[in-house]
Amino acid sequence: MSKKKIVEFSRYPVAFVALFVQIFLIIAMFLFASLAFTPGGRASPAAGQQALGATVVYGFIVGLFLSFTLWEIGFSIREEQTRGTLESLYLSPASKVSSLVARVFAILLWSGAMAVMAIVFVGAVVGGLPTANVGLALLVLLFSISGFLGMGFIFAGVTIKLKETAQLLVNGLQFFFMIFSAQFFPFAALRQVSPLIVDGVSKWLPVSYCVDAFRSLLIGAEPELGLGMGAEILIVVAFGIVSPIVGYWIYKRLERGARIAGTLGEY
């Protein structure tokens, strides 16, 4: 299945390049926007620009993996529904969990490459980025991706049930995490609007800890959510272990429901 996805990917070079270009444009746009708020603009001290660049790009990387995981599994299931191959696939003896994970394998590889290129790009623009605790940050990212996979499984199940409407739900969820998990700005920004947003919403989202831990580790600063780095890493690890199990269980239930109702391949 992974090989099939990679082959599919390689057959659409425009899509490949488009994704790549898109990433740079998004980052460049946010950098330009944030420079408009920096005293001195482009002439501001390099340290300020670097801290800003790091906040944007490291949060963006976590958001990138989350977004692709959420989209890819559900979208790929939907595609199989549209093409009419989902029913036959589910009658084959192939493992369901492998089939689900394989759907995101190619895009995760590509996201990894894009993340590296995004860091290089922003680093070149702002004159270097802080890269403290790379090993630990990568570990946090790994568990974060595992946790996102669990959310992706849930959305795959939801796609089977809701069909086209599930995409709207993913879109909404993506925006929700973009804002409340502070992917493009520090949590301090949300706290400035209202401390209740951070204490009442952000702190209850595991994704927030993934963003905060990954970003703080690489910048070499104290995490913003106030639990300390040890506790945040623990939450991310627990999320990475529990989420795929729970996600797959929910997926199985939804899939079974669709099979019983005879709507699995319904388009």
Binding site: Y12, V14, A15, V17, A18, L19, V21, Q22, L25, I26, A28, M29, F30, F32, A33, S34, L35, A36, F37, T38, P39, G41, G48, L52, T55, V56, E164, T165, L168, L169, N171, G172, F175, M178, I179, A182, F184, F185, P186, A188, A189, L190, Q192, V193
Partner: protein, 299 residues
């Protein structure tokens, strides 16, 4: 006798004005009926510009406050052109993001319509129908326009409440005039985009990347004068950039990219005359070529 029969289309129906209007209306109603089945889509489109504007607002506010300065004052200083600027950065971002949504939706809906017809195998039949393509396209673009405007109005109203800004303080009539005029070249761009999608087929990725190129060139979050000079020149020739800039300038009382409201009006007026004709011509030529070579239904 033969010439008269020929001029009447050898007995084939030649749609008159009423029939043409009916084509536009039917296409429009059909599209509206489809979208009313996905009510969440319209809500999401209205929320998109608010989320989109919230991110730079939050980021900018933090950046400025970390340095102990007023974000509005810094924004004004950094975006000052010809001695004029605004401290109301929230409204600046909201207008930018909302007009971007209109532009993006118009292109997206037209591009996706062409692709969808190709996928479902109905584009070929449409090409064989006696109705001219321009009326079918007029129906689709009208639908795209209505849908985009619904999103725009909801986004501005809801966004103003969330960001606590008042977009009706000044220049609303001028802004609406610029928006209306700016939609004409946008119509033309949509035709060109539809032609492009018909040719290259990979609609999703092209639409997505184009969306971000647009956002970058349109100066959704910043005045295009912040861009390098060559890019400013390119962006200034792009109708949505002029439209966004003019809408923003009239509401926020800041300087226009083309010097004055009259300058921008003249440029946009010229674009409104040229781009739709050019767009339709591009669409027709592309379609004709495709029909000769392989047919327009290739998927």
């Amino acid at each position: 006798m033969a010439a008269a029969a020929g001029s009447r289309g050898f007995g084939l129906g030649r749609p008159g004005w009423r029939a043409r209007a009916d084509v536009v209306r039917t296409v429009f109603v059909a599209r509206i009926k489809i979208i009313t089945r996905y009510k969440g889509a319209i809500l999401m489109e209205a929320l998109l510009p608010i989320v989109f504007a919230a991110m730079p607002v939050l980021l900018g506010t933090t950046v400025a406050s970390q340095q102990g300065v007023d974000p509005g004052a810094v924004f004004c200083e950094n975006t000052m052109v010809s001695g004029r600027c605004t401290t109301n950065f929230r409204l600046y971002m909201l207008i930018g993001a909302s007009t971007f949504t209109v532009v993006s939706l118009m292109l997206w809906l037209i591009g996706y319509w062409v692709r969808r017809e190709q996928e479902t195998g109905t584009l070929e039949s449409l090409a064989l129908a006696p109705a001219r393509r321009i009326w079918v396209l007029a129906g689709v673009t009208t639908y795209a326009f209505v849908r985009a405007m619904i999103a725009f109005v909801i986004a501005i109203a809801l966004g103003s409440l969330i960001f606590q800004v008042n977009p009706f303080e000044r220049g609303v009539a001028t802004a609406l005039a610029f928006l209306a005029l700016g939609l004409l070249p946008l119509w033309g761009l949509s035709f060109m985009f539809g032609a492009f999608i018909m040719k290259i087929k990979e609609a999703d990725s092209v639409i997505q990347v184009l969306q971000w190129i647009l956002a970058f060139l349109m100066g959704v979050f910043y005045p295009i004068t912040l861009l390098p000079p060559i890019m400013q020149g390119v962006a200034g020739l792009f109708p949505p950039t002029v439209m966004t800039d003019a809408v923003r300038a009239s509401i926020l009382d800041i300087s226009y990219f083309y010097g004055s409201a009259y300058g921008s009006l003249a440029v946009l007026f010229a674009m409104a005359l040229i781009v739709p004709l050019l767009g339709y011509e591009v669409f027709e030529v592309t379609e004709r070529r495709l029909r000769r070579k392989e047919g327009v239904g290739h998927y």
